[in-house]
Structure formats: structure tokens, C-alpha cells
């Protein structure tokens, strides 16, 4: 806090690749002189009119910072080190000119004037930091930041080789390559392309038959046909919906200290998947997540969809054990602002909670203007009171029979079990309460402990009651969701000084962040939160960020790198786009084409840029090793879901359908963890559904995903890490899941190929979409020979049996780099 200005200076220095922006250090003696002789006088006699805290800054002169005193006011430099003639301050305090004589009422004593002269001749040593601008970071530069300006349609650039150009995308990319003297590598072959398309669009590898059919397809439109087929597949939503779930910090528990389950969060997950499959216009998708509950619905089914959408605002990490209701509300709104602004705008607005944003022109006031909208929103996240939970709310009730996924069914036997448990628990609770009363009265026993036990049992009672209330008498699920609603009246919002709830400041009317979409006008009603207006602000044409941020996300998922590499930070501390014109072109086109995500994906994958090979080229590589300018398609490691889904797919284990809910929904409400009522082991029971359907409990992400750099579910994650560590190798070599898949894959080889050689061929086709080279065949042969020589249990050419060489062989393919890297 004390060093804001310096931080900005040094930061700008970093950006410019220069250093030395720190002023030269004054000597300790000089500082001592200043502190003793100069500062007290300035404070006593000058600051009233010439400091950041002056009611009215006189003559534009600010003397309470080094920068201010050197710069001076309207008439010129107040202090020029070692130059009395040019230091206007000296002229003023000497009373040389009637008009400028200072301080106005009384001349300073001669000795003090002499001190000032001496100090200036010493070089005016001055330890005070800070800018001359009163209590405002210097935003002049960041106001002109590229991302705050509306995208403009750039002229289509000329390129050297028009033959390479299939679309405008290629033109922009090639023009940049021309500038950098780079040459695009050739087009990838069909085997590579189909594999790339399958993973990028559907998140799974193509089946061997599909590869052969595509390779053999003579139709000049073969590529387009394949793209359209993959865009139409349900798997598209499962992959692209997951990308959005990364930025929506989707999870099914609260995280933080208590880690309470959110058994209804999965409905939001399904909503996202369905939205991507329906190619819902992105602006509509955003509107629904911010204000779906306030939008008109066509019918009950649509109503359910719109209400589920607002789960976006409800599923964030929360401290349910927070004692202070107000603190909880403020933290909740802050999390909503943080997620909304980073996910949709690529801005870190939440930085302005305690003070004006240090880098981007976002005043603290505007944070509270935005917060006023969320403060006036009821967030309905459910959960039940009990140990670790002081904050629970009702859920959003969805119209009956209106959800696409009916959810779990409560069997008669489960109901009976739960009801019995409920009766028992209630009885236990009564006993404990009686015991506590007795202990308190008699002073014997451990009241605290009894009370804690009672609290745990009461949590269990609440949790079972909640679970039973979720089903009809016939055992059908009564659909409920996490979401938000308006409460029908509005409370005024006050700015909180330094973000502290004990320090309410001025009233702040609801509104938006003005640097984004400054011309947007909205009127707020006394009855509504203003989320509807907020949604429009986010997606209206005057917003320069929303469209750019999403096309950049799409680009990132198709190339492994964004045009802007700081995916969630388009502010002034983010990175500049590698192809600014292309980014604007795509953003404008995206809006023009009704915000269609599938349309944008389609357009990009049909480009020559996307169809390039990933081949090495030494000249290009030496000039641009990170492939900033896209002279090839970068090799990428598959993400965690694709690795797991591939293992399941090639082994024939993958369950393609959608589960009825989630393991967390089945477990119900409670705390997750060792010695908690919800056991990790139950949640993590093996399942062969696609990875997007695995239970996502904060801080307890399944190992199969966590090891391969899954998105941290408490944070907005536009870009995942890619690590290569031995724990991944240990997982692939030793984990029961991988071994089971390898067994199954081996079984599949025996089912589909009669001879050993054909089985090797088929295994390669499954794992890599190609046949083995001669060299690889030889390696395979060597493998079987060696294996036979040491293992007494296997029987390489005979029938499959568990633990055989074939399983080991299949596992080797699953372990190899090629299996999880995409060309």
C-alpha cells in the first residue's frame, strides 16, 4: 500500500524492458536534513493548500511528494535540485514577488528560508514516494490501452503467396509471417488432421475405421464434412462445455475450510454442455448465466434452463463457516465480481475492492457500483446447517417435469434406509441434548464435547431431511438447482473503505465499470437487482472486451496458445496480442455471425493455418521457437480429460452416455473428507463415464485429472498448466485404472484381430491412428521375446489371459508420448 507509485513505475519499467526507474538513492545525511528541517515546515505551513489531502489544491501545486515538489504547479518547477534561480519555491518563500509570495499570511523566518536554500543546493534529497496526482494511480497510459478501445475492422493485408490463403484468417497470419520472414510449413496429412480434429472438437480419438474412411474419402469436401459431423456430435458440448467450466470455476463443493458438497451443481454442468451443443449464441449464453431468472421463458422447460444457468453465480468457493453475515455477503459478491469479470471481460475488477485498481482505470467506487448489483441478489446455493456450516440458503426450485435430465431415482429400499437413519439420528440428538443439559446443570462431564457431537448429529438430520425432501412419493427427483434470484426490493450500497465492513463510506449508486463500454446507459429500478442491465452491459456492442476475450479463448483451445497469451487478463498488465488485427477481425465477425461458437470454431479449423503440419523447420525455429507467429501448428499435450477419455476409448471401456447426475448428488449434503460424513472413497469410486462427468470436489480432484494439470476449480482458469513429472509416469505405469484399461484393450485386440502381427497393427491404429513402422514392428517383436523369456505366466501367442504380455504391450502404448501428444 505504501509504495503504489513506485510499483507502477517499476512495473512500467519491466514492460519496457528497461530498469533503473528507481530514483537515485539520496544520502542518509540528506534525508536526515530533510526530515528535520524541511518536512516539518512543509507539513505545518504548506500542506493545507498543497497536498493530496488539500480541500482545494492551490495553483496545481502539490508539495507532499517528491514528484510534486519537483514538478511544481502551473508556473513551473517549484524545486530544481542545486539550482536556486530556477526553483520557484525559493522565489516564493523569499517574498520576492507580491503575487507569488508564500506562505500567504506570514513570511517564514530567515533561518528556515536558509534551510530550504541549503537543502536545494544539497540536491533536494527527498525520500517521499508517490506521484503528484492526488490519491489516484496514473491511469493516463492505461486508459489508452488497446483492449479498452472498440475493435476496428482492419484492412485485409496483402500477402506474398495467395495460394496458401483459404480465408481471411490465413491472410492475417501469413501477412505477419511475411513481415517476420517466416514460411508456413506444409499441410498435415489426413491421419494427423482427423486425429487433431477429433481431439480438438470432441476430446476423443477417432476409431480406426473412421480414420481409414477419412483417408480414403475422395470427396473434395471430405474435410468440411468431417468438421460438420464433429460439430454436430454430442461430444462437442462435452469438450467445449468443459472449457467453459474451467473459466466458470465449476465444482461441486464449497472448498475452503469446511468443503461442503453442492449436490445440485451438476445441473449447471449439464446446462453448459447443452448450451454448447445447441450452439446457443454466446451473448445469450452470458445473459442467461447472469440474469436467466429475470428473462422471459417460452415454456417450463425453457424456464428451468434459464434458472439453472444462473448457477454460474452460485457455485463459487465459499467460507460457509463465516460468523459474520455481512462479511459473508461481501465476500460472496466479491467472488462473483472476480469470476464474472475475469471469465467474461478478462479484467481483474476485484482488485478494486479495497482501493482504486492499481493498474487499470477502475476506481474503487465503480467496484461498489457493480457490487451493489450483487449485494441486491439472493444467491441460492443450498447446503444444510451443521458442522462447518453457518450459511445455508434454499435452492432454486425448477418447474416439475421440465428438466432434460430427470436426475436420480430414490428406490424404496434407499428411502427406507434413510428414514430409519433419520429416526435414529433424531433420537440420538434428543439424547445428546438431554445429556448436555444434565451436564451443564450438574457441572459434570464434558459439555463442549457433547455439544459438538450433537451438532454433528443435527447436521446429519438436516442432511437426510434435505435428501428425502428432494423426491416425490414415487421416488422421482424434484428438480432443484443452484442459482440466484432478486428479492424484490433494493438496499443502497455503500463503499467500504479499504474493503472493510466496519468502514462504510459514501453511498454508491449501482452502475458499471466505465472504462468498459463508457457510453452504455442503464436505469435501475427499485425492485430489481440490476443483473438484467448488467448482462446487457456485458454483451452490448459497445463492450470492447467480451467478444475479443471469447474468440481468444476459442483460438487458444484450437492452437494451444491464445492470440493474447494472458487469457484472463486483457488489462494493462496482460500481454499484447500477437496478431492484433486478426483478433479484431475475428471479434467483429463473431458478433456479426450472431455470436456462434460453432461457427467460429468451424471457420478457424477450415483455415490453412489450422491445417498446417507440426513439422520442424530450422530457419523458422531459430527465428521464432515459441511459434508466436504460427508458422506451424504447435504440438500439444492432451489435456487431462482427453488423456483419460482416450484410455477409456481405445480400451473399449468408455461409457458414452450421460450419467443421471453426479457422484456428489448421490452422496448428498455434508462435509467431504476423512472423518467427515462424506467419504472421499465413495465419491471416487471407479466409473467409466467421460471425464467431464467425474465428481469435482474442490481440493479433491480425481487423481486421473489432477496429475495431468486439471484446472484448479476454485479459480478462473483460461489456460491450464502443462507439466511433465515422474508422478504422471508412475500413474501410467502402476495405477489400477490404467492396468484395467490395458487389460481391456488387449481383450479388444483378440476380439478384432486373428494373428499376432495383425494385433500389433490394430493396437497402433487404436492408440495412434496409424500402422507401425518396420522399426516399431521389430521393437514389438523384441518386446514379446523378452517378455516370454522372463515371465512364466504369459502366453504371447495363445489366448488372452489377465496379466499377459499383451496387456503389458497395450499399456506401453498408453504410456508412450505419442499417445498423449497431438501433432
Amino acid at each position: 500500500m505504501t509504495s503504489l507509485r513506485l510499483s507502477i513505475l517499476s512495473f512500467v519499467g519491466l514492460l519496457a524492458g528497461t530498469q533503473g526507474v528507481f530514483p537515485a538513492e539520496p544520502s542518509p545525511e540528506g534525508i536526515a536534513f530533510f526530515e528535520k528541517k524541511i518536512r516539518p515546515v512543509l507539513v505545518e505551513r504548506c500542506y493545507k493548500c498543497h497536498s493530496a489531502n488539500s480541500e482545494k489544491l492551490r495553483g496545481g501545486l502539490q508539495l507532499d511528494t517528491r514528484e510534486g515538489i519537483r514538478k511544481g504547479g502551473g508556473s513551473g518547477h517549484a524545486v530544481v535540485p542545486k539550482n536556486l534561480e530556477q526553483s520557484l519555491l525559493v522565489e516564493a518563500i523569499r517574498y520576492e514577488d507580491e503575487d507569488t509570495a508564500m506562505p500567504p499570511k506570514e513570511k517564514l523566518p530567515a533561518s528556515v528560508i536558509a534551510d530550504f536554500e541549503k537543502w536545494i543546493m544539497m540536491g533536494a534529497p527527498d525520500p517521499r514516494d508517490g506521484s503528484a496526482v492526488a490519491e489516484k494511480p496514473n491511469w493516463e497510459k492505461s486508459k489508452n490501452h488497446w483492449a479498452f478501445k472498440l475493435p476496428e475492422q482492419p484492412a485485409r493485408p496483402k500477402v506474398k503467396d495467395n495460394n496458401w490463403v483459404r480465408s481471411d484468417i490465413d491472410r492475417f497470419v501469413l501477412a505477419e509471417m511475411d513481415k517476420q520472414s517466416l514460411k508456413p510449413v506444409g499441410e498435415a496429412d489426413r491421419r494427423t488432421l482427423i486425429r487433431r480434429l477429433f481431439f480438438d472438437l470432441n476430446g476423443v480419438p477417432p476409431q480406426p475405421k473412421e480414420v481409414e474412411a477419412f483417408v480414403a474419402d475422395k470427396d473434395p469436401k471430405a474435410f468440411e464434412k468431417l468438421v460438420d459431423r464433429l460439430l454436430a456430435s454430442e461430444s462437442f458440448g462435452e469438450r467445449w462445455g468443459r472449457h467453459w467450466l474451467d473459466v466458470a470455476r465449476y465444482a461441486e463443493s464449497s472448498g475452503k475450510e469446511a468443503n461442503l458438497t453442492y449436490p445440485h451443481a451438476w445441473r449447471y454442468r449439464d446446462y453448459v454442455i447443452d448450451s454448447f451443443n445447441a450452439d446457443k449464441p454466446y451473448n445469450q449464453f452470458i445473459r442467461e448465466q447472469i440474469a436467466g431468472d429475470l428473462m422471459p421463458a417460452r415454456d417450463n422447460q425453457h424456464r428451468a434452463e434459464l434458472m439453472t444457468a444462473t448457477g454460474f453465480l452460485a457455485i463459487g468457493p465459499k467460507s460457509h463457516n463465516e460468523n459474520n453475515r455481512l462479511q459473508f455477503a461481501v465476500d460472496l459478491a466479491d467472488e462473483q465480481i472476480e469470476t464474472t469479470s475475469r471469465a467474461i471481460l478478462g479484467l481483474t475488477i476485484a482488485c478494486a475492492r479495497c482501493h482504486d485498481h492499481k493498474f487499470d482505470p477502475i476506481p474503487q467506487r465503480e467496484y461498489y457500483a457493480l457490487a451493489g448489483i450483487f449485494f441486491n441478489t439472493e444467491t441460492q446455493f443450498g447446503t444444510v446447517q451443521g458442522p462447518g456450516n453457518r450459511r445455508s440458503t434454499p435452492l432454486v426450485n425448477l418447474p416439475a417435469e421440465a428438466t432434460k435430465n430427470p436426475g436420480e431415482v430414490l428406490t424404496v429400499s434407499t428411502r427406507a434406509r434413510l428414514e430409519k437413519m433419520l429416526v435414529d439420528s433424531k433420537k440420538e440428538l434428543e439424547e445428546l441434548t438431554a445429556q448436555a443439559r444434565k451436564e451443564r446443570a450438574s457441572g459434570s462431564g464434558d459439555v463442549q464435547r457433547t455439544f459438538q457431537r450433537a451438532r454433528a448429529v443435527s447436521g446429519r438430520v438436516n442432511s437426510i431431511t434435505e435428501k428425502l425432501s428432494g423426491y416425490t412419493a414415487a421416488g422421482k427427483s424434484i428438480p432443484r438447482a443452484m442459482g440466484v434470484s432478486d428479492r424484490g426490493f433494493v438496499r443502497e450500497t455503500r463503499l467500504l473503505e479499504r474493503g472493510e465492513i466496519q468502514q462504510p463510506g459514501e453511498k454508491v449508486p449501482r452502475g458499471f465499470v466505465s472504462i468498459v463500454n463508457p457510453d452504455f446507459r442503464a436505469s435501475f429500478h427499485r425492485s430489481g437487482s440490476g443483473r438484467r442491465q448488467m448482462a446487457e452491459w456485458l454483451v452490448s456492442p459497445g463492450n470492447p472486451l467480451t467478444s475479443r476475450v471469447i474468440v481468444n479463448r476459442i483460438w487458444h483451445h484450437l492452437f494451444g496458445q491464445g492470440l493474447v497469451r494472458s487469457m484472463d487478463n486483457f488489462g494493462s498488465t496482460g500481454q499484447a496480442p500477437s496478431h492484433p488485427e486478426l483478433l479484431d477481425h475475428l471479434a467483429l465477425q463473431f458478433v456479426d455471425q450472431n455470436w456462434s461458437v460453432k461457427g467460429m470454431v468451424r471457420q478457424i479449423v477450415l483455415s490453412s493455418t489450422y491445417r498446417m503440419a507440426s513439422d520442424y523447420d530450422s530457419a523458422n525455429y531459430n527465428a521464432d521457437p515459441e511459434n508466436h507467429y504460427l508458422w506451424r501448428v504447435s504440438k500439444r499435450r492432451l489435456d487431462a480429460e482427453s488423456i483419460r477419455d482416450s484410455i477409456l476409448s481405445v480400451s473399449g471401456l468408455l461409457k458414452w452416455d450421460r450419467p443421471r447426475s453426479s457422484a456428489v448428488a448421490k452422496a448428498g449434503n455434508g462435509q467431504v473428507g476423512r472423518s467427515r460424513n462424506i467419504q472421499i472413497r465413495t465419491l471416487m469410486a471407479p466409473t467409466d463415464y467421460r471425464s467431464v462427468f467425474l465428481p469435482i470436489v474442490r481440493d479433491l480432484v480425481p487423481a486421473s485429472l489432477d496429475l495431468f494439470d486439471y484446472a484448479e476449480p476454485s479459480l478462473v482458469t483460461g489456460k491450464r498448466d502443462v507439466t511433465t513429472v515422474p508422478s504422471q509416469a508412475l500413474y501410467l505405469m502402476n495405477d489400477a485404472f490404467v492396468i484395467r484399461a490395458a487389460d481391456s484393450m488387449a481383450r479388444r485386440l483378440f476380439d478384432e484381430a486373428p494373428s499376432g502381427e495383425e494385433r500389433v497393427d490394430f493396437a497402433f491404429k487404436l492408440a495412434y491412428g496409424r500402422t507401425p513402422t518396420t522399426n516399431e514392428k521389430e521393437k514389438a517383436r523384441q518386446f514379446f521375446n523378452s517378455y516370454q523369456s522372463i515371465s512364466d505366466t504369459n502366453n504371447p501367442e495363445g489366448k488372452y489371459n489377465r496379466g499377459s504380455a499383451w496387456s503389458s504391450f497395450c499399456q506401453a502404448l498408453l504410456c508412450s508420448a505419442e499417445f498423449r501428444y497431438l501433432d
Partner: protein, 447 residues
């Protein structure tokens, strides 16, 4: 000698595949630039910004002026009021180092400590400062201190990762803090997640439930020959090299890790000394004991994590809890290393991404302060029992013996026998180093 070049024709492409490949592996021990004072590092990373004025930077004037206006961002009077430390400080050790009562056990080792009271860094924001502390650069993805160390020195035990991080952060830059960036992938840290973060506090899958070592080696040979084919095809592909190396290492780890991680083998007295078995100190005690075992086993760079030290409010209870959870384990680690005669060449470092303001926030809390804070070092060639550098009378800003994160990095490398200006890696057409164009070794603290 240490100047590396990013090239696909690494040792792997040339060496072919044999068990001896490990000898030429990028993890093989290398000769440093000059005689090292420390052979390994244990970094006790305190995420969140621990308050220096309540722990290792005694500010009597702050006590006296408690309640007076603090200093605002521009050196102007702040509306927030100075908050004297609620804890008593006392002099400890032969040189009388001032340490607060929050660290009674660490204070017993005052003569081993080199307090760096003049630390400062660039930004008072957690993610930037945390990444800066780890990589020297908050703007771009760069190799971490541990990765540079491994690159410079290799590791002494080819059967274990050379860089291990316990309970790593997932936020604040996440894996970037432990990453290798443009350095070969094998130099990144192997994370071991604590049980509170979904891990088991163990390295999972360390044994195969079904096949013998011999059978697995045959399988691995096949995997690696497939990877070699891939590497040949790709010409330059550091990622595949990383995969190859990580599998070899994983294979070797299987024989050594189970014993390493089994702290139940330690005598009960030792476990107790580290605070294992006591709820408050259990978690960090385990980390510290594991760290000693890893250091003993030849791991080059070990990073432990504890947090959150971000006390914007409830300083009194929350800081006390954090110190209580770490004090005994840290003291035990220092004592244990000394007893085993390992402290002389093990550099133990403590600190977070910045410190906290002398003025109060939320009544009973402190805000971020990047201009002055404290880290400390012990062992590994640093002078013990000294306080190097200081902050102003309240603890706002470093005024003397100032040590920027770059200087800290330069000094750490120096202690390891590496010249931070010479430890370079050629990438994207130029030589990169951890300290970029900065960094001064704090000669004053060298023993």
C-alpha cells in the same frame, strides 16, 4: 560449461537407451562455477506474506507510536493507524538477535539465523509477488529458482527427483512457480500434495500391483523405444525428452521412494521433536521431517509450503496459529540438520512473497507491504546470528542493506557455487538468466 543450448539432439538422441543413460542425464551432478558453500536448499515457503514486524523485525518505535496515523501510499498520512506488535520481542543467542515470542523454538537457534531485514520486491499483489519470488519474473513464464539450481548442479541421487515441492500452491501462478519453462522439462519440481489438498502426502502409485521389476523394465524399454522414434521424427521436441526422462526417473524412484517417504521408520523421539502427533504441528512437522530425509537422500532443492499468512484481519489469532504450527517443526529441522552435520552445507531459507504494513487494517490485521520485509537463511555458508539490512523505524520500507528478490536469487546461487551472471540458457536467440540483468550477491552475509 553450464551454458546450455535448447536442442533436440540432447543426450537422449545420442545416447540411445541403456541403463547407463542416467549417467549422462541432465540430472547428473555437475561441477559448479566455484567451490559451493551449500550443496542443497530447503526453502520454507510461507505463502501469503508473513508479518515481519511481529516476528523477526523488531520495531520499538512502532510500539511507542501505536495509534498514530500510519504512512499512506504516497508518504502522506494514512487514515489507518499504526499497530504496535501485540507480541513481545526478546534478544536471543550470543549476538542478541531480536525475535518475537511467536517463534520461541526457532529463537533458540538464533545463532544460526541470518535475518534478512532489508528485503523488498516490486509488487504488493500475491500472484505477481509469489511468482517473482520463485522465478524472478512476474510478467513472463520463466524457470523457477529450483529449476535453475537443478540445471546448474544436477542432483546427487539419480533415483529421486532433484527438485521436490511439498504441498504446492495451485493458485498464485500454480505450477509456474515450480516450472522449468524453457529449461528442459526434467528440471521442474515433482509435487507431492498434502492430504488437505487431495493428495496423500505420499508419492502415489510407487509400486506396480502386478508385475515384477524385470517385466516392467521390458515394458519400459518398449515405451522408450517408441518415444525415441517420436523424438527422431520431431527433431526438436523437449516435451518428449521430458517424457523419456520422467519415465526413467519414475522407474528408478520405485526402488527408493517407499523407504524415503516412510517417516514411521524415524525414532519416536525424532517424530515427536518435529511435532508429529500433535495436531497443531503435525502437518508442517511431517513436511520438515520429510525434507530432512530428502536432503539426506541427495535431493537438491526441496520446497515446503505453509500458509496462509495473509492476515488482513484477525492478526492476533491467525498469526499466532501459523507460528504455532511451524515454530517447533522448523526448530527441529535446524537442530536435526546440525546434529547430522548437514547444516553446514544445507541452506535453509524462510519467507514469503512480501511482508505486512506497520499500520492496522480491519482493526486487527495488516495489509500487504512489498517495500520492506524479512526473510531469513540458516546454514549453507551464511553467517549465523546476524541481522542483515533494516527497515525504517516502523518497518515500512527497507532502508539499509536492501535486498531485492533478484539479490536474494543471486545470493542463493552464489552459496550453491553458481555465478548468477554465468548461469545462462540460450533460448529464443539470447542468453537468459534467473536474475535477468539484475542481482547483487550480499557478500556481507557470507560466512
Amino acid at each position: 560449461m553450464l551454458k546450455g543450448v535448447s536442442s533436440g539432439f540432447g543426450y537422449l538422441a545420442l545416447a540411445g537407451l541403456c541403463a547407463e543413460a542416467a549417467e549422462q542425464s541432465p540430472l547428473a551432478p555437475k561441477t559448479p562455477h566455484f567451490a559451493p558453500r551449500a550443496k542443497r536448499v530447503i526453502f520454507l515457503c510461507m505463502r501469503g506474506g508473513p508479518s515481519h514486524v511481529d516476528t523477526f523485525d523488531y520495531k520499538p518505535q512502532l510500539q511507542i507510536d501505536e495509534g498514530k496515523p500510519g504512512i499512506g501510499r504516497r508518504g502522506s498520512r494514512s487514515r489507518a493507524k499504526l499497530l504496535g506488535s501485540p507480541w513481545e520481542f526478546a534478544r536471543h543467542g550470543q549476538n542478541g538477535l531480536n525475535i518475537s515470542e511467536l517463534f520461541p523454538n526457532v529463537a533458540k537457534h538464533a545463532d544460526k539465523l541470518c535475518l534478512l531485514n532489508g528485503m523488498h520486491t516490486d509488487l504488493p499483489n500475491h500472484p505477481q509477488a509469489f511468482v517473482k519470488m520463485h522465478t524472478g519474473n512476474s510478467q513472463f513464464v520463466r524457470p523457477s529458482l529450483g529449476a535453475w539450481t537443478l540445471y546448474g548442479l544436477g542432483t546427487e541421487n539419480k533415483n529421486l527427483p532433484g527438485f521436490i515441492v511439498l504441498s504446492p500452491q495451485t493458485g498464485l501462478g500454480g505450477a509456474q512457480n515450480y516450472g522449468s519453462s524453457f529449461l528442459p522439462a526434467i528440471y521442474q519440481a515433482t509435487p507431492i500434495r498434502g492430504s488437505s489438498r487431495g493428495g496423500s502426502g505420499q508419492i502415489n502409485n510407487i509400486t506396480n500391483p502386478r508385475v515384477s521389476k524385470e517385466a516392467q523394465r521390458i515394458q519400459l524399454d518398449l515405451v522408450q523405444s517408441l518415444n525415441q522414434e517420436q523424438l527422431k521424427k520431431d527433431v526438436v521436441n523437449p516435451a518428449v525428452e521430458g517424457v523419456i526422462e520422467s519415465f526413467e526417473l519414475a522407474f528408478r524412484m520405485q526402488s527408493e521412494v517407499p523407504q524415503l517417504m516412510d517417516i514411521n521408520k524415524e525414532p519416536a523421539a525424532i517424530r515427536q521433536a518435529y511435532g508429529i502427533g500433535n495436531r497443531a504441528t503435525e502437518s508442517f512437522g511431517r513436511q520438515c521431517l520429510l525434507a530432512r530425509r530428502m536432503a539426506e537422500a541427495g535431493v537438491r532443492f526441496i520446497e515446503l509450503n505453509y500458509g496462509n499468512w495473509d492476515q488482513h484481519r484477525t492478526l492476533k489469532t491467525s498469526l499466532e496459529r501459523n507460528c504455532g504450527a511451524t515454530d517447533q517443526p522448523i526448530a527441529a529441522l535446524l537442530a536435526d540438520l546440525e546434529k547430522r552435520d548437514m547444516l553446514k552445507d544445507t541452506l535453509v531459507m524462510w519467507g514469503g512473497e512480501f511482508g505486512r504494513t506497520p499500520h492496522a487494517q480491519n482493526g486487527d490485521g495488516r495489509d500487504h507491504n512489498n517495500k520492506g520485509y524479512t526473510m531469513w537463511m540458516a546454514g549453507g555458508g551464511v553467517k549465523g546470528g546476524i541481522a542483515h539490512g533494516k527497515t525504517d523505524e516502523y518497518g515500512y520500507a527497507a532502508v539499509d542493506g536492501k535486498m531485492h528478490i533478484h539479490d536474494w536469487h543471486a545470493t542463493v546461487l552464489h552459496l550453491l557455487g553458481l555465478n548468477h551472471k554465468k548461469l545462462t540458457f540460450n533460448y529464443a536467440g539470447r542468453d537468459f538468466r534467473l536474475t535477468d540483468v539484475h542481482g547483487n550477491v550480499a557478500k556481507e552475509i557470507l560466512a
